[in-house]
């Protein structure tokens, strides 16, 4: 009798205690969680979300450089942007650049990583060689290649014995920017690939060797499949970075849009409108259009990834 009564008293007390500690934990979790993310969120709100909202607002006005929204003009900026040939032209340049750079960088980075991974001697030296250009500021890389592509005094024409006007002929100017970019940025993707190659468990190769697979088979059946997700990441990062190209193009062309505007990229056009023509409202509108394009690319990637995962399982 006594024991049962004791149990009936204790049991609810226990659940009550458990419930209490659960709420305490949830509360603590709430407080601590909020404090953990708060410092980042403050900076993020001030310098990412607020400018995004502000840009959205400004895009409906005819604001000038001082940021004063003088008049609300509705969709006029967007209407103008869609009819503006330079919007499409500069967007085309950015896309063209992306289409040239992304496949080249992906393949080149993979080959370089394979080379640096499989070579046994002086690993650190090869890593350094392939990664070193990425350690230069973009302006330095751009100046250097501007110098190399210089028709009279540059080394490119000298080495190949040609006389191409790389920087002043509109059919070559963007190519020159692409070459500079490849040299300058391949190191980053190279490093990602190298880390991924090192992450492949050695026993996979050992097992394959025991089964009599030669180097080619091991490459096709182990290395390449294991590299699929990192390749997806490299391509995604490169697409996003390449669409936003600005530094190299602008510095190589002495802060001008290149021969017949052929290296004017989308970012450059936005900044021209904002800081040279002082049309902040209009520049904001085309920035928002650009943001939507970038977001669409990123969302498409996420969608593709999800589909593939579902298809794979």
């Amino acid at each position: 009798m006594t024991t049962t009564s004791a149990e009936t008293v204790i049991a609810p007390a226990r659940t009550r205690a458990a419930a209490a500690s659960a709420t305490v934990r949830r509360k603590q979790g709430f407080q601590h969680g909020a404090w953990f993310v708060a410092p980042f969120l403050v900076l993020f709100a001030l310098f990412v979300i607020w400018p995004l909202l502000r840009g959205l607002y400004l895009s409906f006005t005819d604001a000038n450089i001082s940021g004063d929204a003088t008049n609300f003009i509705g969709l006029d900026n967007y209407r103008e942007a869609l009819d503006d040939p330079l919007v499409w032209e500069s967007l085309g340049h950015s896309v063209y650049f992306t289409l040239l750079v992304v496949p080249c960088i992906t393949v080149l980075a993979f080959l370089l990583a394979m080379l640096a991974h499989h070579i046994e001697r002086g690993k650190w030296l090869w890593r350094l060689c392939f990664f070193a250009p990425f350690l230069l500021p973009s302006t330095v890389a751009a100046n250097l290649w501007q110098w190399l592509f210089n028709p009279g005094t540059g080394m490119v024409n000298h080495v190949f014995g040609i006389e191409t006007a790389w920087l002043t002929d509109k059919s070559y100017a963007m190519l020159a920017v692409v070459v500079c970019t490849l040299w300058w940025t391949v190191g980053f993707s190279f490093l990602l690939y190298l880390a991924a190659l090192q992450g492949i468990p050695a026993h996979l190769y050992e097992a394959a060797k025991l089964d009599g697979a030669n180097a080619w088979h091991r490459m096709i059946h182990i290395t390449l499949p294991m590299m699929r997700s990192i390749t997806g990441l490299v391509i995604a990062l490169q697409i996003l970075a390449s669409l936003q190209v600005f530094d190299q193009a602008v510095v190589m062309m002495d802060f001008l849009p290149g021969p017949e505007g052929s290296t004017r990229t989308f970012v450059q056009y936005t900044l021209e409108e904002g800081f040279t023509s002082y049309r902040v409202g209009y520049a904001s509108a085309i920035s928002i259009i650009f943001f939507v394009i970038i977001a669409a690319v990123a969302l498409a990637r996420m969608w593709l990834l999800r589909n593939r995962e579902e298809g794979g399982r």
Binding site: H32, W35, F47, V48, P51, Q244, F291
Partner: protein, 306 residues
Amino acid sequence: MSTAAAEIRDEAPTGDGTRTSGTARVRRTRTRKPWTAGQILLTLLATAVATVFLAPLVWALFTSLKSETEAVEVPTHWLPKEWTTQAWSAIFETGNITNWFVNSFVVSVCVTFVVLSVSALAGYGFARTEFRGKKALLGLVMTGLMVSPAVLGVPLFTTVQQMGMVDTYWGMILPQCAPAAMVYILYKFFQGIPRELEEAAFIDGAGRWRVFFTIVLPLSRPSLAAVGIFTFIASWNNFLWPYMVTNNPDLMTMPNGIATVMNSYGIQWAQLMAGGLMAGLPLIIVFVFFQRQIVAGVAHTGLAGQ
């Protein structure tokens, strides 16, 4: 799970020590190996590729050791006929290069420090704590992955202008300090840390913060190193944002200063190359010393194995 925990626990205190000794041992046995045909071929190939990769840098170095008139001589040639350090001394005498160097250093160190602090906290908060609105905020951070000064430069500039931070250190530093990508990388990494490690500490009475500082952070050293180094590189080399936010030569960073030198004084190629090498040198030295940690860090963050 428990073996993974043990592995991490084993690795954590020694950090790279275990790995270093491991690779050192491998290397020693490897050098005893005779050259195989495959290795000779690979080495030759690597030498050829490395030559192409380094040629522009060597060309810059040689140019910087020519006189300005010799630099623009046609036909061009690799080695200076007359070796001179005149371009190197000129950049120190005429330019603000020491100023820019200090600015770059201050900005990059501050940015790296702030980014590491806030993104480690936020990454952990998102990965391991519960609070109202977490999912929505995480979604918002993912939006941030798509916003950069390149995409929304003009509105960002007007915002910073409103805050009165144009032409100030604050204006250069703070807008670089909210990189959603770094939060996302660390968030992914923290998710991979076995919960058992933390739970043991909770049972012993440790609070969230204690667990974060005494267990999670020490485990994350390689990842934090990778994030820190990449932030430092990005900030040191950042051109676009400082270009937008300041026109004051006293406040410029290396990449900007060098770009404007070329713009306003006409092109002094030898000087430009000397300045460029000066700007690139610190990071190259850093990489030489930390490359193993960098590669290990990239592997550790899970960036490479997503």
